[in-house]
Symmetry: C2
Subunit: 202 residues, 2 copies
DNA sequence: GTCTATACTTCGATAGAC
DNA sequence: GTCTATCGAAGTATAGAC
């Protein structure tokens, strides 16, 4: 049948299912998020999963949207802090989130709808971070940085995620590496001058 | 039964299966590597998979070992190049490998044996890279760098993988970001001086 | 070394009663 | 909105013939 009944988006049970799915995915990976395991984890019947989500793909989509929105709104809070760049870095380093990110990246490798969603999120993140970076630079009196804010965002984001993945894997801090990078961000105008040198060269 | 017959490690069919598994994992993710799909992909019967590998876990272990060994031997070749650091970076940026790495990282999140294998590989990689870095620094006349070679390896590796994941996701180069980082590595002694400043701070 | 046959489990998804 | 019942497909793994 094509027109099956589907539960409302604002349903409490639906929220509960998404919550459980997030936890399950974090702890056991996306492959463990099956209708049966999820239901049992949430204390519900498997059929309810299909009542709220037409397919499992639809569930993953909804879950990613949830996680992505959470990250973007946290980013907005960070931008009001004293040192937004360090906050930005710490946010993307967060190991709980990084595990989820990793799972979604892996999912994106072979599910087109997730792939599109993840790239769209990446673009939005880059835009938002670029704006924050520009703002920080202006406050330091730098109007035209030698490196594009978009590239700076990419570099920071790249390092943060890499750190998070590695830390998460080793279950320990990565020597002094993370402190060094945080230091670079705390004295960003100095770092930027250094980076600019390499940007012009090649 | 506990003592099932298992095929020899040097069997051609076994190699063929691992080859196919690698490709399948790259293209469709680890969840697609099932005995049935793998066998059909390799033009064999599913039961042969279980003849060569006691369990699917054993197959993933063997596959990771294969990939890790390949990477380490490629790294050794790179260390003989003119600019080993750039080569190191490019190697870890390689998008074909990065997809596999990502899949294994995801697998490691919830399979203990893979987790242990991946961390062990990470440690060995760090050791090998540190040695290369030390060598490069010595040739530039720097005997005691302000930042530990292990941390430098971590930073470079982190950036490279992050780049690879992001590029792979977007299916396009990441603006100028990658060039900037390559530039930093090409003029490593300059970069190192800049990094040292932040290392001593706070 | 590769095949057939097969046991058992878990999966996604739907229909229909309540 | 949640339940029971149920399908067919796909998963891992083993035994035993050739």
């Amino acid at each position: 049948m094509v027109n099956r009944r589907i539960g409302k988006e604002d349903s409490e049970t639906r929220q509960h299912l998404l919550e459980a799915a997030e936890q399950l995915m974090r702890e056991e990976g996306y492959a463990a998020v099956t209708s049966r395991k999820l239901a049992s984890f949430a204390g519900l019947k498997p059929q309810l999963v299909h009542y709220y989500f037409r397919t499992m793909d639809e569930l993953f989509e909804a879950l990613f949207k949830r996680v992505a929105d959470k990250h973007l709104s946290a980013l907005k809070e960070v931008s009001a802090q004293e040192n937004p760049l360090v906050g930005m870095f710490e946010l993307s380093c967060d190991s709980a989130n990084s595990v989820l990110h990793l799972e979604f990246l892996a999912l994106a490798n072979h599910r087109k709808n997730i792939h599109d969603q993840v790239t769209a999120f990446g673009r939005e993140l880059n835009r938002t971070e670029s704006a924050i970076i520009l703002d920080v630079l202006r406050k330091e009196g730098i109007e035209t940085p030698g490196v594009a804010p978009e590239d700076l965002s990419t570099i920071i984001e790249t390092m943060a995620r890499g750190m998070a993945f590695a830390e998460n894997l080793n279950a320990r801090p990565l020597g002094n590496a993370r402190n060094i990078l945080t230091g670079c961000l705390a004295k960003f105008s100095v770092t930027l001058r250094a980076l600019s040198e390499f940007s012009d060269a090649d």
